[in-house]
Symmetry: C2
Subunit: 132 residues, 2 copies
């Protein structure tokens, strides 16, 4: 398989796949002409990485998860800790975004949004005191 084939089958851009090789996540063989020669196991790894990335794991998390995936004797507790930490991070980010949404929503609702210059959004950003 050339890079285009794995790209299609893994739904990852070729650039991304080259990058993953560069940082050592995968180690595809090479043909005589210098082309990367991907095997099924490379493809499986890429699909694995793609799914983990789509769940928001960092590539370093992916590296750890891949290592555990390859390690037949790993303890599921190790995987679970990575996933739980990541889940906690996601929940923090959701909470942060929800706080932003709350404030923004209040400001947007308070703003008439017409052609007058009076704007509660700018006033809110300038300071709760409302100074402009």
């Amino acid at each position: 398989m050339n890079i285009g084939d794995v790209a299609r089958r893994s739904e990852l851009p070729p650039k991304t796949i080259r990058y993953y090789e560069e940082i050592g996540l995968i180690r595809p063989a090479r043909d005589a002409n210098g082309y990367r020669a991907f095997g099924e196991s490379d493809l499986h790894k890429l699909i694995f990485i793609g799914r983990a990335r789509s769940l928001g794991f960092t590539v370093e998390d992916c590296r750890s998860l891949l290592a555990l995936w390859e390690d037949r004797s790993r303890a599921s507790a190790d995987v679970r800790r990575i996933a739980k930490d990541h889940l906690a991070g996601i929940e923090r980010r959701i909470a942060d975004l929800e706080a932003m949404r709350g404030t923004l929503d209040t400001l947007v609702r308070a703003c008439a949004g017409d052609d007058r210059p009076d704007c509660p959004i700018l006033a809110g950003l300038a300071g709760p005191s409302g100074a402009d």
Copy 2:
């Protein structure tokens, strides 16, 4: 005011303030010795930027918002559009994160997390088919 003073009063790191000058968000004067000399209006701008950033606006959004803030004749509709677009982006991000959280939560719950190698999380990442 020197940079340390505005840094304390705006709660922004000096490095960040220098960066904001570099990209033209603020234009503090200079003392004879080359030190930046910040006025109250610089400080107000920095506080404004800091609040906008904490609401997740990009620095380019901040540049637009600052321009509108300075423009006494702006229409509040312009501000509102920026804020509404940003709000929509935040809501998309929240939705994405909640989808991740849902999947991750399911996987984490399914995982015993003990010292056995059997791990539904890895199986889930390898593919819904469950192949490992």
